[in-house]
C-alpha cells in the first residue's frame, strides 16, 4: 500500500479498478479539485441548495421521543425535509454540476432504497442530462414507489437480475456500463465508497450537513452536542455530519449499522461490526466476505443500508478510534421507527430509524444531562408499505 498517494485513509481507500477507468477518475478528481476552489462553482451550488434543495435544513428538538432515550436532549438535523426527501440531493447536485463542467451528457447511478436514484433522476431532469439508474430487481419490488418516481422524472430504470439482485449488484452493473461508455458518461456514485475520488468528493458535497449543524447547535445551546449519531450503509450521511466535528475531540461520533436479524445470525449488513478488511467496488475498506474473499450477501429490512461494504474513511475512523460503530437489528430499528411516528409525528426512513434506535441506547447509557444530535437522513414515505407490513396494518 502506497500511503503517499492521494485518496487513502490510512490503509484504506485507493483505487482498485480496471485501467480503462483511470482516465475518467483522474478527470473527475481534477474537476472536483478545481471546483472546490472555484467561487463561481461554489456560488452556483449554494444558490441551488438555497432555492431548490431548501437548505439550510432545520434542527428539531424531539422532547417526547427523548423520553424513550433516557431523558437526554435529542435534536434532529432534518435532512428529510430536503427536496426529494433525503440527504442524497446534496451530493447529486454537486456531481451533476461537475458532469456538465466535464462536458458529459449522460449520468448513470446505482440505487438501493431508491433515494439516490430519485435524487439523480431529479438532478438530471433539472440540468437536462440523460439518466439511467441501475437497481437490483429485489429492490425494485421493495421500493416500487421510488421506481415510479424515477420514471416520472424521465429516468430509465434498469432492474439488475445478477447475483443477490440488490445494491451491490446494481453497482457492478453500473460499473460495467461506465467501462463501456466512459467517454460520454459520468457515474454518479451515491455514497462515500468506490475508487478515489468518490469517497472524498461525495464526503465534501455532504459536509454541508455537519457545517450547518455545528453552527446551529452553537446558536441554540452555545455548545456542541455530546454525541452525534447517524446510520451507516455506505456511510454518506454519516460522514457528512461527522466530518466537520472530527477535530472536536469531546464530541462522540457514533455510526449505526444495519444489524439485520442480529450479528450472530450472519444475516446482517453491519460491515464494520461484523466484517473484515478487504477490497470491494474499487476501494479497500471493511467488507462482508468469506474465507475465499467472496462477498457475502448482506441482509437488512432497510434497502438503503443493505450493502456488504462501507466507505473507507469510516473504516479508518473506526480503526483509529475516532468514531464508533454499533449494529442495530431490524427489530430495534422498527421499534424506534414506530416511536418516532407516534411521539413526534415524523415518519422516518427505515435507514434513519437505525440512528434513532442508537440514540435510544446511548441516551439511556448517558442519562438526562446528555445532548444528542441525530442526522435525520430521510423521510419514510417510501417505506410506508414495508412498515405497514411489518406492523400488520392492512393495505386496501
Amino acid at each position: 500500500m502506497d500511503s503517499n498517494i492521494i485518496g487513502h485513509f490510512g490503509p484504506y481507500g485507493g483505487r482498485f479498478v480496471p485501467e480503462a477507468l483511470i482516465g475518467a477518475l483522474d478527470e473527475l478528481a481534477l474537476a472536483h479539485e478545481v471546483a472546490a476552489k472555484d467561487p463561481i462553482f461554489q456560488a452556483e451550488l449554494a444558490e441551488l441548495h438555497k432555492t431548490y434543495t431548501g437548505r439550510p435544513s432545520i434542527i428539531t428538538e424531539v422532547k417526547r421521543f427523548a423520553e424513550c432515550a433516557g431523558g437526554a436532549r435529542v435534536f434532529l438535523k432534518r435532512e428529510d425535509l430536503n427536496h426529494t426527501g433525503s440527504h442524497k440531493i446534496n451530493n447529486v447536485l454537486g456531481q451533476a454540476l461537475l458532469t456538465k463542467r466535464m462536458g458529459k451528457k449522460r449520468i448513470i447511478a446505482e440505487t438501493g432504497a431508491g433515494q439516490h436514484g430519485v435524487a439523480s433522476a431529479t438532478a438530471a431532469a433539472l440540468m437536462g442530462l440523460e439518466c439511467v439508474v441501475y437497481m437490483g430487481e429485489e429492490d425494485t419490488k421493495r421500493q416500487s414507489l421510488n421506481v415510479a418516481r424515477m420514471k416520472l422524472l424521465g429516468a430509465e430504470v434498469v432492474p439488475v437480475t445478477q447475483g443477490s439482485r440488490t445494491l451491490k449488484d446494481a453497482i457492478n452493473e453500473a460499473m460495467r456500463d461506465w467501462v463501456t461508455n466512459v467517454e460520454t458518461t459520468h457515474y454518479l456514485l451515491g455514497t462515500v465508497a468506490g475508487p478515489h475520488p468518490f469517497p472524498t468528493m461525495v464526503r465534501d458535497f455532504h459536509r454541508i450537513i455537519g457545517v450547518e449543524a455545528r453552527q446551529q447547535m452553537l446558536d441554540l445551546l452555545g455548545r456542541l452536542p455530546d454525541v452525534i449519531l447517524a446510520c451507516v450503509g455506505g456511510g454518506s450521511n454519516a460522514i457528512g455530519i461527522f466530518h466537520p466535528f472530527l477535530d472536536d475531540k469531546e464530541v462522540r461520533l457514533v455510526g449505526l449499522e444495519a444489524g439485520g436479524s442480529g450479528l450472530s445470525t450472519g444475516l446482517h449488513a453491519a460491515t464494520i461490526s461484523g466484517g473484515s478488511p478487504g477490497v470491494l467496488h474499487g476501494t479497500r475498506s471493511y467488507v462482508l466476505q468469506d474465507e475465499n474473499g467472496q462477498t457475502i450477501e448482506s441482509h437488512s429490512i432497510s434497502a438503503g443500508l443493505d450493502y456488504p461494504g462501507v466507505g473507507p474513511e469510516h473504516a479508518y475512523l473506526h480503526d483509529i478510534g475516532r468514531a464508533e460503530y454499533r449494529a442495530i437489528t431490524d427489530v430495534q430499528a422498527m421499534e424506534a421507527f414506530g416511536l418516532m411516528c407516534r411521539t413526534e409525528g415524523i415518519i422516518p426512513a427505515i435507514e434513519t430509524a437505525h440512528a434513532l434506535a442508537g440514540a435510544m441506547q446511548i441516551g439511556r447509557e448517558l442519562g438526562p444531562e446528555a445532548v444528542l444530535l441525530i442526522n435525520f437522513s430521510g423521510r419514510g414515505d417510501k417505506d410506508v408499505q414495508t412498515a405497514a407490513n411489518y406492523f400488520g396494518i392492512p393495505l386496501q
Binding site: 500500500m1 502506497d2 498517494i5 485507493g14 483505487r15 482498485f16 479498478v17 480496471p18 485501467e19 480503462a20 477507468l21 483511470i22 482516465g23 475518467a24 445478477q162 447475483g163 451491490k168 449488484d169 457492478n172 460499473m175 460495467r176 467501462v179 463501456t180 461508455n181 466512459v182 467517454e183 478487504g278 477490497v279 470491494l280 467496488h281 474499487g282 479497500r284 467488507v287 466476505q289 474465507e291 475465499n292 474473499g293 467472496q294 462477498t295
Partner: protein, 265 residues
Amino acid sequence: MSTPLDTLFIKTRSENRAALIGYLPAGFPTQEGCIAALTAMVEGGVDAVEIGYPYSDPVMDGPVIQAAAETSLRNGTGAREVMQTLTAISQIAPSVLMTYWNPIERYGVDAFLAHVKRNGGSGVITPDLTVEESGAWIEASTTHETNRIYVVAPSTSPERLQLVTGATSGFVYAASLMGVTGTRTAISSSAQELVARIRAVTDLPIAVGLGVSTPEQVREVAQYADGVIVGSAFIRLLQESATLTEGIGRVRELAQQLSSGLQRS
C-alpha cells in the same frame, strides 16, 4: 527469471506467429470438467492457458463469464480448487491465473504467489489492481519469480502505458475495446491502435483480449499482436452443449480452428 510463459513467447516470436491463449474459470462447468476442457484446448492447439478465479463481483466481465463464474461458485470453487486446476494444467502448457484482487488479498499476497509458483504457474493477470496499489504485489512476485500481467485499455494515456508496462512482465494484456468481456461481431479498430501505442513504449509481448472469438478475428489480431486471448467463446460452447463430452469435443474443435490462424503472413 524466466517462466514457461516467457519461454513460450520467445518461441512463438521465432516462429513468426502469435500465441493462442485460452481462458476458463476454474470449477466451470465442474472441477473435473474444467480440467478436461482445458486439456482439450491444449490438445486442440492452445499455447497457454488462463485459469480464472471465479469472484462474486466480476465488474470487468460480461454476461457469459458472469454466468460461468456463478456456476463455479455454486459448485463451491475456492482457492484450493483454483490451485488444483493450475497444478494439473501447468504440466501440459504455460499457465497463468486471472483474478480480481480481493481473493488474493484474502489469501495473503505472498502466500498466494508462493503457491502459484509451487503449483507450476507462470504468473497472474490482475485486471483491477492498479500500479499505485501494487507495492506488496511487486515485491512478492519478484521474490517468487512470477509474471505480473496488467491489463491496459484504449483509454490508457501514453504516460500510464509507460508506467503500467514498466511494472509488467510476461506479456501486456491489451483490452481490445472499452467494455467488458464477451464475444463481439467485429474486432474494434482501437485494438490495433492500442497495440501500436504499447509497442512504442515496451518490447514486452502483447496479447489482445476482449471480444475475440472466431478464426477470422484470430487471424486478424495475429498479424499485429504476440498473443490472442479467447474466453467467452469457449465458455459458450460448454454452456450450449447437452453433455460435457460434447462440450469438450467442441472446445477442442474450436481450439484447432483458432490455432490455424496464428501464422503471420
